[in-house]
């Protein structure tokens, strides 16, 4: 009994020490009562976590090895996994999703960092510029995507993008109706909608770089690009690498963009993503178990990626010091 309650004593706030002068049995009783109060305060949130987060985490794995048909559930081993891997869209979906993540990384990752570096140099209009890039983040994605779908990506010359391209004497595009432009078009829409958050986070990171480092680098003869390379990037490396990981995890779950812009899978499945395939299996093909299996596969892929990434990053970091 004493051993069980010991850790609680260490955790106890300093202000509660006065109970220690009482007789031991009442101390124990008081401790039990304090714990009960604590659990009472925790209970609501813990119940919500249990029902809507922890239980589904386990249920997802369990479901992926079962099959429910006409209200009857039985264990089917790896059947769901086999079915989902043999789905004609499976590899296309993974290929498209990886392609989107890669494109989004090239465009959506570098752009906010450069924007933040430039914004950080300004002594005027800072609030305005910050509000500007964050504005689309506040729009409901459905609203923003209908703007892109109907007005910006209109394949005729009446569309906003084609009109601009035409005015600049550049070739126009079919956008979502062209299999090659589908993904870049989704990357543009997604970057426009989401980059504000990254810009603000980078700005905060840039502001924590000590000014003397730039001073020292300048005295050593480093130009602007040299200072970015030798001061800015090393100093913001932790946040840069963290954001890269978060972005990959976020872009791999691409769903609303294909659903609205491409009506789902798009022209010749050019917009089919893994997240959309989960939705399709679960809600159109009446195959929640197959969808759960694909969810588990996605979890393993993203978890594996994160693990490898963290490992690579931390060893690299260790060598650097």
């Amino acid at each position: 009994m004493a051993i069980v309650t010991l850790p609680a004593t260490e955790n106890r706030p300093a202000g509660r020490g006065r109970s220690a002068v009482r007789r031991p049995y009442s101390v124990r009783r008081r401790r039990v009562r304090d714990n009960m109060t604590g659990y009472a305060f925790l209970s609501g949130a813990v119940l919500c976590f249990a029902v809507f987060a922890w239980y589904p985490m386990i249920r997802g794995v369990v479901m992926s090895f079962q099959r429910t048909r006409r209200g009857e559930t039985r264990w089917v081993g790896w059947d769901n996994y086999e079915r989902i891997v043999n789905d004609p869209g499976f590899w296309t979906a993974w290929k498209n999703t990886l392609y989107f993540s890669l494109l989004a990384l090239v465009v959506g990752y570098a752009v906010p960092f450069v924007v933040a570096i430039v914004f950080n140099e300004f002594r005027h209009a800072r609030g305005y510029l910050r509000a500007l890039v964050y504005l689309p983040v506040m729009l409901p994605p459905a609203s923003a995507l209908f703007l892109f779908k109907y007005y910006a990506y209109d394949p005729s010359d009446a569309g906003l993008f084609n009109a601009v391209l035409k005015a600049l004497h550049l070739p126009t595009s079919q956008w979502m109706q062209s299999t090659t432009m589908t993904m870049p078009a989704m990357v543009i829409a997604s970057t426009w909608m989401n980059m504000g958050g990254a810009v603000l986070i980078y700005l905060a990171a840039l502001q924590s770089i000590p000014g003397d480092l730039y001073e020292a680098a300048e005295l050593d003869g480093a130009g602007i690009l040299g200072r970015v390379r030798h001061v800015t990037i090393p100093q913001t490396r932790l946040i840069l690498s963290l954001m890269a990981m978060l972005q990959v995890v976020a872009t791999m779950q691409l769903f609303v963009e294909p659903l609205i812009l491409a009506n789902g899978a798009g022209t010749q499945d050019a917009a089919l993503t893994v997240a959309y395939l989960i939705y399709q299996h679960g809600f159109f093909q009446n195959d929640l178990n197959g969808a759960a299996a694909l969810g588990v596969i996605m979890l393993l892929v993203l978890g594996g990626f994160s693990a490898v990434y963290v490992r690579l990053f931390s060893t690299q970091d260790g060598r650097g010091r």
């Binding site: 109060t37 919500c48 005027h124 800072r126 609203s143 703007l147 700005l203």
Partner: protein, 297 residues
């Protein structure tokens, strides 16, 4: 809180360099260009959206497009309002958002207070389990969460079309718990010790000491809760299938098939107004919450 305005610290380019004649010209040229380009890129599409929805179907299909609607038709907006029953959709979304804020404020604040100040045995294990949910991508959980909501374990009740299907899952937000707990951790124990000596109950301490100090962080949590519900799409689409319970985003999507383009976009504009207003009013809180919340952990 401190997300900007450290004008004094030296940045990439030194102040002396900027103050020199050529530096100053270059600075202003770059600044004005950036302001113009960014205004065009970020406000431009919004302008296009608002004015495009005022054009006739004929005018919107015309190449090259017109910069100003030649014959503005506010009718598109009133059509959208009536055809999509936007009043009902907006009310639903607002109702779900307010409920989500209340549930999160009450239950997550209580939990964070327990984890930070009451510290029951195994509190750290519970916190760890909560934070572990941050590692699970949302799309992975969508199917088992849906299956859980249509048939709750033990009680076997379906929450389909019930606002609780939106409210309760939002409470399971580890990021809120983390933000609130960290804020409560920074409140000195001495402040609470005095209340406890006076015989105040934990609830009383939370209500009259902790909560008044925590107003900024509660504001941040509330704003994020509202915008998260307003922006969410897939979850409300799944758990609110009836036309009467839909959120505004889902309602617009559902109607987009058989409705003229301009009317859909007009509805999209109306759906975006509340979040834009929230943003303009609470801009400072949102930006500071975003940067303090995500960085100095």
């Amino acid at each position: 809180m401190m997300a900007g305005d450290h004008v004094e610290t030296r940045t990439l380019v030194s102040r002396a360099q900027l103050a020199s004649g050529r530096g100053r010209v270059l600075y202003w040229v770059v600044l004005v260009t950036v302001i113009l380009v960014f205004t065009a890129v970020f406000i431009g599409p919004l302008y296009w959206m608002v004015t495009g929805a005022l054009k006739s179907g004929q005018e919107i299909a015309q190449a090259p497009p017109t910069l100003f609607p030649r014959d503005p038709r506010p009718r598109n907006y009133s059509d959208a309002w009536e055809r999509l029953n936007l009043a009902k959709l907006l009310f639903n979304t607002f109702y779900y958002a307010i409920g989500a804020v209340l549930f999160q404020l009450v239950l997550d604040t209580a939990a964070a207070y327990a984890l930070s100040k009451l510290r029951p045995a195994l509190g750290n294990v519970i916190l760890g389990l909560m934070l572990s949910t941050l590692m699970i991508p949302a799309m992975v959980l969508i199917i088992p969460q849906y299956v859980t909501v249509i048939d709750l374990p033990i009680v076997h009740v379906s929450l389909l079309d019930s606002p609780f299907a939106i409210w309760l899952p939002t409470v399971a937000n580890a990021f809120n718990i983390f933000l609130l707990k960290r804020f409560f951790d920074s409140i000195p124990e001495d402040l609470l010790a005095a209340a406890i000596v006076d015989g105040a109950s934990p609830l009383r301490t939370l209500w009259s000491i902790i909560l008044p100090i925590s107003r900024p962080i509660l504001g941040v949590v509330s704003i994020f809760a509202v915008t998260a519900v307003w922006k969410d799409f897939l979850w409300p689409k799944l758990v609110m299938p009836s036309p009467e319970t839909r959120t505004v985003s889902v309602g617009i999507y559902a109607f987009s098939g058989g409705t003229p383009m301009n009317v859909v976009v007009a509805a999209a504009v109306i759906a975006a107004i509340p979040t834009i207003v929230v943003f303009l009013v609470f801009q400072r809180n949102i930006m500071s919450g975003l940067t303090t919340g995500s960085l100095k952990g």
